[in-house]
Amino acid sequence: MSLKNVLENWSDYRKTHEDGGHHDYEHMWGMVVDLNKCTGCNACAVSCYSENNLATVGKEKMGKGQGMHWLRMERYWDEPNVGGDEKEFHERGASFLPMMCQQCNAATCEVVCPVAATYHTPDGLNAQVYNRCIGSRYCSNNCPYRLRYFNFYSYYEDAWPEPLNQQLNPDLSVRDKGVMEKCTFCVQRIRTAKDTARREGREVRDGDAVSACAQSCPTKAITFGDLLDENAEVTKLWKFHQVELGKTKQDKANKELRGYRVLEGLNVDPCIMYLDRVREV
């Protein structure tokens, strides 16, 4: 963020909290996670590990809460708006929730970074520039979803003993100690998609860029796409479920539609819409 940038886009920075972020974006990458389809099988998480050079930190450090799980498959035993917790068994199974960076339009992490290592790209992505990060860790403190992970050690030293390191993805860097990192919506894939499109002299089409989690999901519970692209599957889903960006509370014509955004009321304006889990009750 150059000074010029701040001054010129100051109104934008202020606006973020009112309208749904900047709509003069080139793209607005967004996602839909259908909790009715999600089986909690964890394929997305491992896919993320292999795509994004995530280090495995081992039992002890993982137990200490120093792991690097960008996409974490959460599991809850209670069902707040259905009840039945007093039953003898978990009769309706578990509630799974894949949680990756919500790419908020009014991201709380961005404002507090002292060196602007995290900022919003013209693609509507919440970027993290690793080599600019000085590790004040304020962003992670200020993320209501706790979706930012810190390199507490030089994990790369032990995580990829020869020849495991040959699997590392050259399209993004390997992070060293003292750097904050998080889900990037597989920005390297988006970049590739845009380059290819440019090479072929066309616009980026829906499906050109697919995040690793979305691509590997066995039930196709995750849909990834450009929310500014009218014909994109993801846009249709948002429309269908009458969920809009830039709102702290969705006023739906049909109250029964499933779409919702996690902790939407905080006005961070996340770009991931979740669809209610469904059970026979």
Binding site: M1, S2, L3, K4, V6, Y13, K61, K64, G65, Q66, G67, R72, E74, Y76, M99, T108, V111, V112, C113, P114, V115, A116, Y119, R132, C133, I134, G135, S136, R137, Y138, S140, N141, N142, P144, Y145, R146, Y149, F150, N151, F152, Y153, S154, K177, G178, V179, M180, L263, L266, V268
Partner: protein, 470 residues
């Protein structure tokens, strides 16, 4: 029972000799203290080197506990720094002259605690070697820090406060440095010659001196208040329950003055005991300080309760949760201890018998500061332990690495202070003389009359009640 702030019959020469004596030939106790401090510091240094090599992991920092003791202690030291400004600037402006014998070391405390506090944001960085990136320096990359981040405001605020308070300390010392110069030999003389900047104590110098001193005082007061408000912004500007609280700026400022005063009492007693400053750091002055502390303590307690109340009646479920978890959660023992030290203990200050009993006051003041340190910790950690996101709930206890560095910071502060008391007069001689003089003229009208006449007309050669030189 001593009732006067100071004995006005005390000879000015004696004042000089007493104070200067305190600066000379350190005794055994002094060296022991120095060694102790050095040891503490070396602990911290080793810990920091380890951390620098390995990363932030060994401190037990984790997800979601990204901040812990470092930031808490940082806030603590910043708070400590406010006392000096309070005594030297605020009391100076409202003309409470009992401050005069004790403001000097209070001010030194300000500078040194700032120098300690400043270390912590650096220590807590994941990549210390890039810390200069927070400064808006011109680079050919054309990139700048993020001016929206409270951490940047911190950087500015603290550096400003440090420079100005150091300057204030120095300016206030000039006349005394002149005295030292006149009485010192060897390297000391050279040093003081340079530092006293050719102070002769003549009329012009005194006038300018008064002007600038007043000016600095006026400048420092809003600065001090703003600094801790900005520090509070680190928390208040975030959206975390238990941090995002409107009343934080005043709350922090009150807390700062509180811990500062407590620290003054501690040092007051120490100095009085070791340097035999009984005639200058008198019980009545201690009592006044205690009363002041008590008043601030009450303000702070009130703000604390207000904070709880506003959260409780605010009906934000998450914030409420965070509050409740402070009372009953895993960290609750420390929280209750904090409340005890911060709200109950100060009532000892309201009892005259305690106020006049040095050992008691010593313990009390330590307890108060413990409370204030805990307060900072209890702001930082419980919030991170339970905030918006259940999946990230976690209880974390800091490791030796963190403790060592926190521990060492006290050694560092102590070291600086020990050096100070041997190199500079920790009691302001000329102001004590002033104070004595004022008391005298207050008591005997003829002196007053004589003084007033003298003050009104300006004839060269008139003998001025010289405070400098002597």
């Amino acid at each position: 029972m001593q009732t006067k702030d100071i004995n006005e019959n005390i000879a000015w020469a004696k004042i000089n000799t007493d104070v200067l004596r305190s600066m000379e030939n350190p005794r055994m106790g002094y060296w022991i203290a120095v060694v102790a401090c050095l040891l503490m510091v070396s602990c911290a240094v080793m810990a920091e080197i380890y951390q620098y090599q390995v990363g932030m992991g060994p401190g037990n920092l984790n997800w979601p506990h990204m901040w812990d003791l470092y930031i808490a202690t940082f806030v603590f030291w910043i708070g400590m720094s406010h006392s000096g400004t309070l005594l030297s600037a605020i009391l100076h402006i409202i003309g409470a002259d009992w401050r005069k014998p004790i403001y000097r070391f209070a001010e030194a405390m300000t500078t040194f605690s700032l120098m300690t506090a400043g270390l912590f944001p650096i220590i807590h960085l994941g990549r210390v070697w890039n810390m200069y990136w927070v400064l808006p320096y011109v680079s050919d990359r054309g990139i700048w820090p993020n001016f929206r981040s409270p951490l940047i405001w911190d950087a500015f605020a603290i550096t400003t406060y440090l420079t100005s308070s150091a300057l204030f300390l120095f300016i206030g010392m000039i006349p005394d440095l002149a005295i030292c110069r006149d009485n010192a030999r060897g390297w000391r003389q050279k040093l003081y010659t340079v530092l006293s900047m050719g102070w002769q104590g003549d009329d012009r110098q005194w006038r300018n001196f008064r002007k600038i001193y007043l000016l600095m005082a006026c400048f420092l007061i809003p600065l001090a208040v703003s600094v801790h408000s900005i520090v509070s912004a680190d928390f208040a500007m975030s959206i975390m329950p238990g941090w995002h609280i409107t009343s934080f700026p005043p709350y922090f400022v009150a807390g700062a003055l509180y811990s500062g005063c407590a620290a003054i009492i501690t040092l007051f007693i120490i100095l009085r005991y070791f340097f035999r400053f009984d005639e200058y750091m008198t019980i009545p002055i201690l009592e006044k300080t205690c009363k002041l502390t008590f008043a601030i303590a009450m303000v702070w307690s009130y703000l604390t309760l207000i904070e709880f109340a506003s959260v409780w009646y605010g009906h934000d479920p998450v914030a409420k949760e965070a509050l409740v978890s402070r009372f009953v959660g895993p960290y609750s023992p420390f929280f209750w201890l904090m409340l005890f030290c911060g709200i109950i203990v100060p009532f000892a200050l309201a009892v005259e018998r305690f106020r006049r009993h040095l050992p008691t006051m010593f313990v009390v003041s330590i307890l108060l500061n413990l409370g204030m340190w805990l307060e900072r910790w209890m702001i930082v950690t419980p919030t991170l332990a339970t905030s918006y996101y259940p999946f990230a709930f976690d209880v974390m206890w800091p490791s030796m690495v963190q403790w060592a560095i926190v521990f060492g910071s006290f050694g560092w502060f102590g070291l600086l202070f020990l050096i100070f008391v041997k190199v500079f007069p920790c009691v302001s001689m000329y102001e004590v003389k002033e104070m004595v003089f004022h008391r005298r003229q207050h008591n005997s009208p003829e002196i007053a009359k004589q003084f007033h006449r003298r003050a009104s007309d300006r004839q060269a050669g008139d003998e001025q009640p010289s405070t400098g030189g002597a």
